[in-house]
Each structure stands twice: as structure tokens, then as C-alpha cells.
């Protein structure tokens, strides 16, 4: 997979922006899942994902190892998310001052927000494996290749991720029930 990343990255650097399309296609879900958990709302996540991809495109020449595109992209998206969250916070504070009681329509949650929020809470090493496996369309052995680790380590990480996710999702469910009862 990273071999083809490399090919498209080089195409982009050679001045074929249209070939960036393939990289967007490959990594959009990864980014969206990663960001949706952080934002909890679909529009913000999409906006941040777009911004991350655009930044990645214009900074491609700074990417030292084309094989590391995925990790590099996640790094960019983390920075973008932080910036946007700060902006949103400021905006919310302003709005709070302006209209105390006015009800703002709640933003549209992404389709499986609970899952994405749980992924966002995973430790970095586990989250990356989950993202790449289920959102990047990598097979487990491709994930192993990407991160240069034995397949056994991938499944081990994935097992831990599963356990944590199940736990997190269970917790969320409990909280929801509690909210309803209240």
C-alpha cells in the first residue's frame, strides 16, 4: 500500500494535483474516523479532514519518507483539530455571551459517533492500527508492513484495542441509560 502511496506522492510532487485524488480516497475514512471522535460532529470533522488533506498536499515536499504518509497525515490532522477546537471554543464562548438562552440546533452527529469517540480515546499505538485496518482498508499484514512490526504484534494490539473499545462502548451505553433515567 505504501508503495502506491509513494507513487501518488511523487506524482503530486511532479505537478499532477489530480493524482492526489487517490490519496484522498484512501485516507478520507481514516481521517474522518480519527477526527469525528475528537469533534463529535460530522461537519467539523469533515472540515478538519479537508483542511488536513489540503495542508498535506501543499506540504508534501516536507514529507521525508513517503512510506510514512499515513502517520504524517494523522499528525497534521491532530494539529488542525487542535486549532479548530480552539476556534470553536472561542466561538462558543462568544455565542454564550451573546445569546444565553437561545437554543442552537445540535450539530449532526456522525453516523456511529459512539464508536468514533471510543476510537479517539484509544492509546495512539492501538488507534493507528484500528484506523488503518478498518478505515484505511489495509489488511492486517499490510498494517504490519506499514508499521514495520510482526503480524503477531498487530493482532496483539488489535486484541487490546478490541477489549478497550468494548469497554468504552459499554461505559457509554451505561451513561446513556443513566442520562435517560435521570
Amino acid at each position: 500500500m505504501s508503495e502506491t502511496d509513494k507513487y501518488y506522492i511523487e506524482r503530486c510532487l511532479d505537478g499532477h494535483p489530480d493524482d492526489f485524488r487517490y490519496l484522498v480516497r484512501r485516507y478520507q475514512a481514516v481521517l474522518l474516523a480519527h477526527l469525528a471522535g475528537k469533534f463529535g460532529n460530522k461537519d467539523s470533522a469533515e472540515e478538519a479532514a479537508q483542511e488536513s488533506l489540503v495542508r498535506a498536499y501543499f506540504n508534501m515536499n516536507k514529507l521525508k519518507r513517503p512510506g510514512a504518509f499515513f502517520s504524517w497525515l494523522l499528525g497534521i490532522s491532530d494539529r488542525v483539530a487542535k486549532e479548530q477546537q480552539r476556534k470553536q471554543q472561542v466561538r462558543r464562548q462568544r455565542e454564550a455571551i451573546r445569546s444565553y438562552s437561545e437554543e442552537t440546533p445540535s450539530p449532526e452527529l456522525s453516523q456511529d459517533y459512539a464508536l468514533e469517540a471510543a476510537i479517539a480515546e484509544l492509546p495512539d499505538a492501538y488507534r493507528r492500527v484500528v484506523l488503518l485496518r478498518y478505515y484505511g482498508g489495509y489488511s492486517c499484514s499490510q498494517v504490519a508492513e506499514q508499521f514495520e512490526m510482526p503480524l503477531g504484534t498487530v493482532t496483539k494490539n488489535l486484541s487490546r484495542a478490541y477489549l478497550m473499545l468494548r469497554k468504552l462502548l459499554e461505559q457509554q451505553k451505561q451513561e446513556e441509560i443513566y442520562e435517560v433515567q435521570k
Binding site: D18, R25, L32, E46, L53, S110, V130, R166
Partner: protein, 431 residues
């Protein structure tokens, strides 16, 4: 297989990564173990959920949005790049050389003409010392605008309506002016080129004959009651007697040898412009070829491209832009005015000396500064202006850098750092 062993392989099991025998073992254990069965169920559910969500998100259509944004952004960058490119181009243009150098020098004509012109309203009078100027067939002197500590000196030879001028910080450049016909011949000894410059229109109106004009002024001064004696003073180691007179907007002092009455020094204060004439020589023998309007032998005539007949606010704004963008890397000069402009000439010349652009472009750009300066010189003498561009960057729309009151207008015109102009009443002027 016990439950712990089973749990260990659970994810590999639901991911389908186990080999046949391992898979069989797990399946068999799960069949008989309710707890592990539940585990498998939950893991499979989670896996399905992940796969489903992954698939859903993969079907997002970020592609077009991202690519559109990239294209938009790229266009913006290209435009910014083009702007930088334009800056570089301007830099190259101004470096072009001769024509621009000629044009840079040309503004000095204006300085001289306006200076003399303003004397018409003068009421100063002055007796014997004017004799030599009135009667001399030729007058030679040095002409300095502004501070004398670090002066740009124009050396002028005046014969009738012809002037031959050299400028201290433009070595190799000579201007020959034919005031009668509103023409200037500029010679560049370095490149052996010659060029004609039109100084018709407003400029020529002002004064048809240079020395004739000086003489006319002096005649007027002769019997004026407004002349003050300044007493004696030493000038350049020479004893001198002084007279001064004040007009509406100008102040003139003339110093002369008390014994021979030969003028030594003339100081003109014209609004914001200060001019000094000194090192006079009268009736020096001048060879006709020195004031000939013909292109000297060995020189090539450049196409006549310089038009110097007007200077508008627009020209002035353009000259501010060029001054900031080309000469000072995006900052407005600390001070403007004829004196400061003259001090910039070597810098322009320096930049010109190296490049190679089309002559038309170079000439156009070369005209920008002098034309703008012409406009400014009119303000220096007639109206007051205020300059506040020191430290301001080109493009700064919040800072007023220049304002003046046009003749006959109640309001002021204010120019901002982004070179926009607003009409503003006096009480709303920047502080």
C-alpha cells in the same frame, strides 16, 4: 484449549487470520463455552461495526471538495507568486539603465524651474550685486537643493536660454536644456547615448527663458522697498554683504562681495524647499558646442520616449509605490521631497546599471518617480503637505502616509499605506 488461550486468539479468529487447525480448536472450544461464545459474538459485532463505519466513511466525497480547495488555494498562491514576480520584474525594469537614469535626472529640471518661477511674486530688492547677473553673457554656478552638509550639487552653465548641467551624484550624465523650445538633451558619457526629453506644457509655460527670467526677477528686486540688509558675514573664507527679501511664500537672501558687488551666494526658501546657488562665475568663455542641442559625435540617439509635461496625484501615488516597492523593499521612505529624491538618484542609478529590460518599460518606470516628484514639488512651493510614511509598510491601509490641500479645495486629500486616497475635512485629518 482453555478460556484464556481462546481469548488470546479471539481477534485473530474473527479477523480470519488463524490457520485451519487453530481455527478448528477455537471453534470447538467456543461451541462448549458459553462465556467464550459471548466473547466471540461481541467481538464479531464490534468488528462488523468497525467495518460498517469504515465503509460508510470511505464513501464520503471529500475528493472533489479537497481537490477544489487545492485548486483554489493554488490559484491564490500563483497570484501571490505573480505579485512577487511583478516585484522582481519592476526591480529589473528600474535597473534597466540609461533611459531611466535620464529620466531620474530629468526631474531636476523641474526643481530649477519651479524655484525660479516662484520668485515672480517676490518683492525682494537688491542693488549693485545684480549687475553681473543682469549683464553677464554667461553665468556659471553650483546649485544645491536642501542640506549643504551632504549635498547633491548641480553644476550649471547658463548662456542665454541654454543651460548645460551636470549633477554630482550622476557622474557621466549631462543635461543640455533649450528653454526656448522646451527641450532637453541628455547625454550619457558612459554608454555614449543621447536622448531628448520634452519639457513642454506646464513646465515651459512657467519660464520661457531661464536667464531672462532671472534677470527679470532681479530687475524687479532692484527698486523694491522690502529689502533688508543682513550686514556682513564670512562665507567660505570670503567677506560678504547680504540682503534679504520676503515674498508671499518665499524668502531670498543674496550675499555678495562687498567691494566688487559680485554675487557669492543666493539662498532661496520656497515653501518647504531650500535652494542654494553659489560659486558664481560670470562671463566665462563658453564653447558653443557645450550648449549645442545636437547629438555629439560618437553618441547614439535613443528613441525619444520621455514625456515630462505633467505630474498628477496619480503619478505621485505611483511614484510612492515604486519608491517603496522597488527602492526600499516594501517600506515607505523616511522622508520625501526633492532633496530626498535627489539623494535617491544614485540608488536608482545603481540598480539600473545592471539589468536588461525593454526600453519602453524601463522608460515608463523611469518616468514614474520624476513625475511624482514633479507633483510633489508643486506642493512644496504652493501648498503645504504632510508626510507620515516613515516606518509604514506598503499595503498598510490603516496608516495615513501623506495629506495635502489641493488648490481651491476646502478638503484635504489623504493617501494611505495601501495607496488608497480619501477626501477628508480639516478636522478629520490624521493627528
Amino acid at each position: 484449549m482453555n478460556c484464556a488461550e481462546c481469548k488470546e486468539l479471539l481477534v485473530a479468529y474473527v479477523e480470519g487470520l488463524l490457520d485451519e487447525s487453530q481455527e478448528k480448536t477455537v471453534s470447538e472450544h467456543v461451541k462448549d463455552c458459553k462465556g467464550c461464545q459471548l466473547e466471540v459474538e461481541q467481538s464479531t459485532n464490534l468488528r462488523n461495526r468497525l467495518v460498517k463505519n469504515g465503509k460508510a466513511l470511505s464513501e464520503s466525497h471529500l475528493e472533489d471538495k479537497v481537490l477544489n480547495r487545492i485548486i483554489r488555494e493554488q490559484n491564490v498562491r500563483l497570484k501571490a507568486g505573480a505579485k512577487v514576480g511583478l516585484g522582481l520584474r519592476l526591480r529589473r525594469i528600474i535597473m534597466e539603465g540609461r533611459i531611466t537614469r535620464l529620466a531620474a535626472a530629468a526631474v531636476l529640471v523641474v526643481a530649477v524651474l519651479i524655484g525660479i518661477h516662484s520668485l515672480t511674486g517676490g518683492t525682494v530688492t537688491f542693488a549693485q550685486v545684480i549687475e553681473p547677473i543682469l549683464k553677464a553673457r554667461t553665468v556659471v554656478y553650483d546649485f544645491i537643493i536642501g542640506e549643504e552638509s551632504n549635498p547633491v550639487i548641480m553644476h550649471e552653465i547658463v548662456v542665454g536660454t541654454r543651460i548645460r548641467r551636470t549633477i554630482s551624484n550622476l557622474p557621466g550624465m549631462t543635461q543640455i536644456l533649450d528653454m526656448e523650445n522646451g527641450k532637453m538633451l541628455v547625454l550619457d558619457a558612459e554608454g555614449k547615448t543621447a536622448s531628448y526629453v520634452d519639457i513642454k506644457g506646464q513646465l515651459q509655460e512657467m519660464t520661457k527663458s531661464y536667464i531672462g527670467f532671472v534677470r527679470k526677477v532681479l530687475m524687479e528686486l532692484k527698486d523694491s522697498p522690502n529689502v533688508k540688509e543682513l550686514g556682513e558675514r564670512e562665507i567660505d573664507g570670503q567677506k560678504a554683504i547680504g540682503f534679504s527679501g520676503r515674498g508671499r511664500n518665499e524668502e531670498v537672501s543674496i550675499w555678495a562681495d562687498p567691494k566688487t558687488a559680485v554675487p557669492i551666494r543666493v539662498e532661496l526658501r520656497l515653501g518647504q524647499l531650500v535652494v542654494v546657488l553659489k560659486n558664481f562665475k560670470f562671463d566665462e568663455p563658453i564653447n558653443d558646442s557645450q550648449i549645442s542641442m545636437d547629438v555629439p559625435e560618437g553618441y547614439t540617439l535613443e528613441e525619444k520616449v520621455i514625456d515630462f509635461t505633467k505630474g498628477t496625484e496619480e503619478d505621485f501615488i505611483e511614484s510612492l509605490r515604486v519608491w517603496a516597492e522597488v527602492l526600499l523593499d516594501g517600506k515607505f521612505p523616511e522622508a520625501i521631497g526633492t532633496e530626498n529624491y535627489m539623494k535617491q538618484i544614485p540608488l536608482i542609478g545603481e540598480k539600473l546599471a545592471q539589468s536588461g529590460l525593454s526600453k519602453d518599460e524601463a522608460a515608463k518606470l523611469g518616468m514614474t518617480l520624476p513625475r511624482g516628484m514633479f507633483f510633489l514639488q508643486l506642493l512644496e512651493i504652493d501648498e503645504k503637505y504632510h508626510y507620515a510614511g516613515k516606518g509604514v509598510k506598503l499595503g498598510d491601509a490603516d496608516k495615513a502616509i501623506f495629506w495635502y490641500q489641493p488648490k481651491g479645495s476646502e478638503n484635504y486629500r489623504v493617501i494611505y499605506g495601501d495607496l488608497s486616497v480619501k477626501e477628508v475635512s480639516e478636522e478629520n485629518l490624521p493627528k
